[in-house]
């Protein structure tokens, strides 16, 4: 496992707290690499054959697959274990965070205030009047209690602390030492596709803790990088984390459906696995907003997770929708992302939804074979 960069905004872990997190990593690694693939085997060897024997046909779609797989004892066991591992993951991070909450908040304030000689600082702008959209408040996304948006005390940063630690454990470190892999991946795609471009102003939507945002700020140190999210505690954390790492970025609490940025004010608008945490109406609004804030000639890139091709793959990918509160992912499965971007104002001739398969490490392959990403590319 890669070594997690324990910057100033991460809580200290005592022996047993570390051991609890290590257990969750090992459990999840085992479930992902040794138990999860068995679902495909039991489907092919007993579940689908039985359905065919009874009906004379194969299951038509992921919903039919779900009905029969949920009765299978192998799937039940994996699914229940996977759910419990996700709950344990958060529990193992929440406890050390809660224990040190005072110093974490103090540190975030100090980092925000402290001037550093020789470099520009980033900024933080919160909007207490912002209404957190229902697609975030209906259920806590991927089971993080309180989601991205709940303040448990004044000046709270814990949602960010918990998210940063949690996603690292979630993929057993495969996201890189600063949870940087997705940002690096999209930066890489941008540099390959639009060689030589140097965007002066970049907007990262749905930035959460700014883990991907900072990879853009590092790749384009002369650009002005803005990042927005609806959650106040993750933004306070993102700001403090960016300052702790010495990378300036401008964070503000805004809904990507409607921001306060002027028309034609960005050269590049990006998001990293944000779209599947929105809604049917929001996703079109977001595309429209991207179109509005982009300068003529500007570029839009949204990184998304693939959701399978066969009914069985779609069912397995959408385990997340039914068991991990990635609720909108279900609807996203068969959504034509290019059509959504066009509905938002982008030119069908220059808009595309591409599949992108970067080279993966063995560790990343343990989580998914032949993994590819989806990238929505729009040009203003």
């Amino acid at each position: 496992m890669s070594h997690f960069n324990r910057h100033a905004m991460l809580p200290d872990l005592d022996h047993d707290e570390k051991a609890r997190q290590s257990f969750v990593k090992s459990l999840r690694g085992h479930l992902a690499s040794r138990v999860m693939p068995g679902n495909y085997q039991v489907y092919a060897s007993r579940v689908e054959p039985q359905f065919k024997a009874e009906t004379g046909r194969a299951p038509a779609d992921q919903h039919e697959v779900r009905k029969i797989m949920e009765k299978d004892s192998y799937y039940q066991y994996w699914s229940a274990m996977q759910r419990r591992s996700q709950e344990l993951l958060w529990e193992s991070v929440i406890e050390p965070t809660e224990r040190q909450i005072d110093s974490l908040i103090e540190r975030s304030k100090a980092l925000s205030k402290k001037a550093v000689k020789g470099r520009k600082k980033g900024t933080l702008r919160l909007d207490p009047a912002l209404k957190v959209p229902r697609y975030h408040t209906a259920a806590d996304i991927h089971l993080q209690p309180g989601g991205y948006h709940t303040d448990f005390t004044a000046d709270d940063v814990t949602a960010g602390v918990i998210y940063d630690n949690g996603i690292y454990i979630y993929l057993n470190g495969a996201l890189g030492p600063e949870n940087n892999t997705m940002g690096d991946l999209l930066v890489g795609f941008f540099k390959e596709t639009f060689a030589g471009r140097k965007p002066a102003r970049i907007l990262d939507m749905g930035c959460a803790i700014g883990n991907s945002t900072l990879q853009w700020a590092r790749a384009f140190p002369h650009s002005e990088v803005h990042a927005i999210d609806v959650g106040a505690p993750v933004l306070r954390y993102a700001h403090a984390r960016a300052e702790a790492l010495g990378v300036p970025a401008h964070f503000s609490q805004q809904n990507a459906e409607k921001t306060d940025f002027p028309d034609a004010s960005f050269d590049l608008v990006i998001s990293h696995i944000m779209l599947h945490e929105t809604s049917k109406t929001a996703i079109v609004n977001i595309m429209r907003e991207c179109h509005r804030v982009l300068k003529p000639g500007g570029i839009m890139l949204h990184l998304e997770i693939p959701r399978g091709k066969t009914p069985m793959e779609k069912f397995m990918f959408n385990w997340e929708s039914y068991n991990n509160n990635e609720t909108f992912a279900q609807y996203m499965t068969d959504l034509d992302l290019k059509a959504v971007a066009v509905k938002g104002g982008f030119d069908p001739a220059t808009t595309e939804a591409v599949e992108y398969a970067p080279r993966m490490t063995q560790e990343q392959k343990n989580y998914s074979e032949e993994f590819f990403w989806k990238i929505v590319v729009g040009r203003r």
């Binding site: 496992m1 070594h3 100033a8 699914s79 759910r83 300052e243």
Partner: protein, 146 residues
């Protein structure tokens, strides 16, 4: 567990290009106002097995497995520290043979432990075979209410 290959990103990890990182002194921490962070996510938890009791049993089992892993790590830490401090020779725990008196006491303690773990079965048998065992709790309540 198969040996995991290190993520490529470790070797290629970038140095921050934005300037010097800020160092902030770490204070001892604490939670003076007893802030309680939520432990239960909002949403509907699925039922995985035909009987919800099995879901709860699995919950408890996995949590116990986690605590056992923590305890094993802690014991290993103790062994490592004791070896480092030359209190123990490397491999001393594995090559330890308990003298008869120690082994006898251990065996007795182990038997008592197994009996405690298995008491549910024993309790059922005892209740069934006890001659004057009440047939129901209502009978007991009626008896003491007279």
């Amino acid at each position: 567990m198969p040996k995991k290959t290190r993520a490529k990103s470790v070797r290629t990890a970038r140095k921050p290009a934005g300037g010097r990182a800020s160092k902030v002194a770490r204070s001892p921490g604490g939670n003076l106002n007893n802030v309680r962070l939520a432990r239960v996510p909002k949403g509907k938890r699925p039922q995985y097995f035909s009987d919800p009791a099995i879901d709860k049993l699995l919950w408890t089992t996995i949590t116990l497995a986690q605590e056992l892993a923590v305890t094993r790590d802690r014991l290993d830490t103790m062994e490592q520290l004791l070896t480092d401090k030359r209190v123990l020779k490397s491999g001393a725990v594995d090559s330890y043979v308990a003298p008869p008196a120690v082994e006898g006491a251990r065996e007795a303690a182990r038997m008592a432990y197994v009996a405690r773990v298995m008491r549910a079965v024993e309790a059922e048998l005892e209740e069934t075979t006890r001659a004057d065992n009440p047939r129901s709790q209502d009978d007991v309540i009626a008896a003491v209410s007279q």
